[in-house]
């Protein structure tokens, strides 16, 4: 029996440590530890509520737009203006968030995950004319290999020509994700930390030139998604087919849905298991446990609305700054896989056709989706589905039309803002008193996925996904980092602080 400690897990957002106890070549137990505590929610208390979308974006520089979105949804409700947002404002918010989905998903596959599968040193023998690969070859030739070496060595499976092609896509994808941020800036002002999404709508009126510019910037990115990103995910799926059999997590999935349309949401909400029978979600069933977190509490678990959070860094039996959210007392995973499973089970096209294409490449049934590869595939499918929809949404904008509904800040008010974020289900809750923030709370995707054990001793989704995995080479534990990264963890989001006073969440039901 020995324990493998990976700290830091790099190529994720934020600070994560993974410990895996290995017995006879198989992980028998895994522990996921968030290693940074900041306390954004405490910082928000007493501030002007309009500042919340700007400040909560600083929870995460990779997915700030999702926080701005959740925060404005919560404030729209608290200000009593949720039904007054002009159609242009709703659409522009969706477009700005959609750009963040594209950027996040492309960045994740190529720049955070791909180095676990593709040996970039294969470009040393490159003989072609691709300038990115020639630069990489010259770089390797100088013998200074950071940041690509040191790394885990061994299980890189692609033949040289395929590895070279994928390495060129790694280089190209840096341009694509940069252009996704440029696309976002067309209506969001700048990125990271957009300034466009505000309570009441957005700040910039669309005109014909910005609409057309947005569409054609988007189309360039869609071409990459269709002809490079999705095929590359299938290429990895074929070479690493065994990863459709490992990395399966708790097998229960949760989504709040996202991208409000005139009626309903473009990405659906609900819970689902591998029996593919979707159920409606009731947000009142959420609890959070601090049993294994460095946080003190007299009662546990608690409804997030009642959460008491007092840092207790020397607490016995604790091993993370992350709380353990649970739904109806059980462990749930969020993310693109949750949303694509819901779309697949509900027969929504083009999700069904795209997921079937993935399953065809794997030569497997839907059960294979609950795996490390399944998460990558679902992320690529979602990226395409959202990007294609954005090309329709942008043409629904009315040039010169209003984007913003003026309002007065009420003394009292409360609101919930629930949205799909690139990494899973994101919720912000706000309560106002004397026109200022009295209580603010975020329950974020990676809090679900990277959570430690709960009060019943049930491990979190990432911990469950690692447990039971055979490790071929304990000095180079590829299996663990591949599984962890398939979740696209965002630890900056996950580690936060909830203020002592709470409210009832039970009334909120996501539609």
């Amino acid at each position: 029996m020995r324990t493998i400690v990976i700290d830091p897990v790099t190529r994720i957002e934020g600070h994560l440590k993974i410990e895996a106890t290995v017995d006879d070549g198989v992980v028998v137990e895994a522990r996921s530890t968030g290693t940074l505590f900041r306390g954004i929610e405490l910082i928000l208390q007493g501030r002007d509520p309009r500042d919340a979308p700007r400040i909560t974006q600083r929870i995460c520089g990779v997915c700030p737009t999702a926080h701005a979105t959740a925060s404005t949804f919560a404030l729209d409700e608290a200000f009593g203006i949720a039904d007054r947002i002009p159609a242009n404002g709703r659409i522009l918010r969706n477009l700005i968030l959609g750009c963040n989905f594209i950027q996040s998903h492309v960045l994740h596959f190529y720049h955070l995950a791909a180095l676990d599968y593709v040996d970039v040193t294969a470009v040393a023998g490159y003989e072609g004319t691709d300038p990115g690969l020639l630069a990489a070859k010259a770089f390797l030739g100088r013998g200074e290999l950071g940041p690509f070496v040191p790394r885990y060595e061994g299980d890189y499976r692609f033949p040289t020509d395929v590895a070279q092609r994928l390495a060129s896509h790694y280089v190209q994808a840096f341009d694509v994700r940069r252009k996704a941020h440029e696309l976002l800036a067309v209506f969001g002002g700048k990125m990271p930390h957009n300034v466009g999404i505000v309570p009441g709508g957005v700040t910039q009126v669309p005109e014909v030139d910005t609409i057309a510019g947005f569409l054609w910037r988007l189309n360039e990115i869609r071409h990459f998604i269709d002809h490079v990103y999705v095929p590359d995910v299938l290429e990895v799926a074929r070479a690493y087919g065994d990863y459709a059999e490992v990395g399966g997590g708790c097998g229960s999935f949760i989504s709040y849905g996202g991208f409000p349309l005139e009626n309903g949401r473009f990405l659906g909400s609900g819970t689902i298991a591998m029996d593919l029978a979707p159920e409606e979600i009731g947000v009142g069933k959420i609890t959070e446990s601090v049993q294994h977190a460095w946080l003190a509490s007299e009662r546990d678990p608690l409804h997030p609305s009642e959460g008491v959070t007092v840092p207790d860094p020397s607490k016995e039996g604790a091993y993370s700054w992350i709380k353990a959210p649970r739904y109806d007392g059980d462990v749930y995973e969020g993310g693109p896989l949750a949303r694509m499973l819901l779309g697949y089970a509900r027969g929504i096209e083009p999700i069904v056709a795209l997921v079937d294409r993935v399953l065809g490449a794997l030569d497997a049934g839907p059960a294979a989706l609950n795996s490390a590869l399944g998460r990558h595939a679902a992320r690529a499918v979602e990226c395409k589905v959202v990007a294609d929809a954005m090309a329709d949404w942008v043409l629904d904008l009315v040039p010169g039309g209003e984007v913003y509904a003026p309002y007065e800040i009420p003394d009292e008010g409360e609101g919930a803002g629930l949205t799909a974020a690139p990494r899973g289900a994101l919720g912000h809750w706000v309560r106002l008193k004397d026109g200022a923030i009295d209580h603010y709370q975020c329950v974020v995707p990676t809090t679900w996925n990277a959570s430690p054990k709960d009060e019943q001793g049930k491990p979190g989704p990432i911990e469950q996904a690692i447990a039971g995995t055979p490790i071929a080479d304990e000095e180079n534990p590829f299996e663990i980092v591949r599984i962890v990264r398939s979740f696209d963890p965002c630890l900056a989001c996950a580690v936060h602080l909830i203020t002592p006073r709470g409210r009832t969440l039970g009334r909120y039901v996501v539609s």
Partner: protein
């Protein structure tokens, strides 16, 4: 072919949202791949030995890079610190490689040739040091002063910083050394932070005419809606963001003053008008 001189870079992420890293990924000319792979200027290459967001290695192989730098020959690498540094209770609120971040940063800072405080958190404390500062986060400058470390420090603030501000500062160091970077009293390169947003704002004429926007998305100067461009030193109006696509005031939003040490506590509420007295005390350059 002339020999390439390598400049090793250690990039530590402390209490950060990673937005500074992501912003640097947005660099358009040179592109991030040029920065990583090619010579930033002929004959000079940045060798990014540790950067947790992009590096291949995890766990021990990654941490060994940090230990080697801290214990190696002094003055051989550039240290970039992104984020403020949690110091409360011995720094337990943030650890890296099973050691408090503050205990990683101190030896790396002592041994570095020069330190770049990247972003407003590293430069001045920023968001995570905002009241009530739950983790006891401090800026790099404050930590260096407290520990008596005299390694040269350049602050490149911004929440996030514009990629050009970072790349331009690094290129200036590569060409002429640290002394080539002319800084203001806050350690910010004057090249990028020498003028007020207000001085170059395309909506300046509205301010002078007294035509103020009443609501977000209106035409007019955004001063009444909380714009902090009148007290914020940065070249955003000229440089614009995301490869020149747009910028904050260009999209109809007020400037949040994110490059200033007062961000966020003393510069918020973001959507409330500045008191007029604030216009009368421009910060002097050194």
């Amino acid at each position: 072919m002339a020999e390439t001189r390598e400049m090793p870079v250690i990039w530590i992420q402390a209490a950060t949202c990673s937005g500074c890293s992501v912003s640097v990924l947005n660099s358009a000319a040179p592109k991030i791949t040029d920065l990583l792979l090619s010579e930033v200027i002929p004959g000079r290459h940045i060798n990014l030995r540790f950067q947790a967001t992009v590096m291949a290695g995890s766990g021990e192989p990654a941490v060994e890079v940090l230990d080697a730098a801290a214990k190696g020959d002094p003055g051989t690498y550039v240290l970039i610190v992104e984020g403020s540094i949690p110091t409360k209770d011995g720094g337990v609120y943030g650890t890296l490689g099973e050691v408090p971040m503050v205990d990683r940063v101190i030896p790396l800072a002592e041994n570095a040739a020069v330190i770049i405080g990247l972003g407003t958190c590293a430069s001045f404390g920023g968001i995570f040091a905002a009241d009530p500062n739950p983790g006891g986060c401090v800026s790099v400058g404050d930590l260096l002063r407290e520990k008596g470390i005299d390694t040269p420090l350049i602050n490149v603030p911004g929440c996030p910083p514009h990629p050009d501000w970072f790349v331009g500062t690094v290129a200036t160091i590569l060409v002429g050394g640290v002394s080539a970077v002319k800084v203001d009293e806050l350690g910010r390169p004057i090249r990028f932070f020498g003028q007020l947003i207000h001085e170059n704002c395309p909506r300046r004429a509205y301010f002078d005419e007294g035509k103020f926007a009443k609501h977000l998305s209106d035409e007019g100067c955004l001063y009444e809606l909380g714009c902090k461009g009148t007290i914020t030193h940065a070249d955003c109006p000229l440089r614009r963001w995301n490869n020149g696509t747009n910028w904050v005031i260009g999209s109809g939003a007020p400037c949040n003053g994110c490059v200033e040490p007062e961000f966020p506590d003393l510069i918020s509420p973001f959507y409330e008008r500045l008191p007029e007295e604030a216009l009368l005390v421009p910060r002097k350059e050194s």
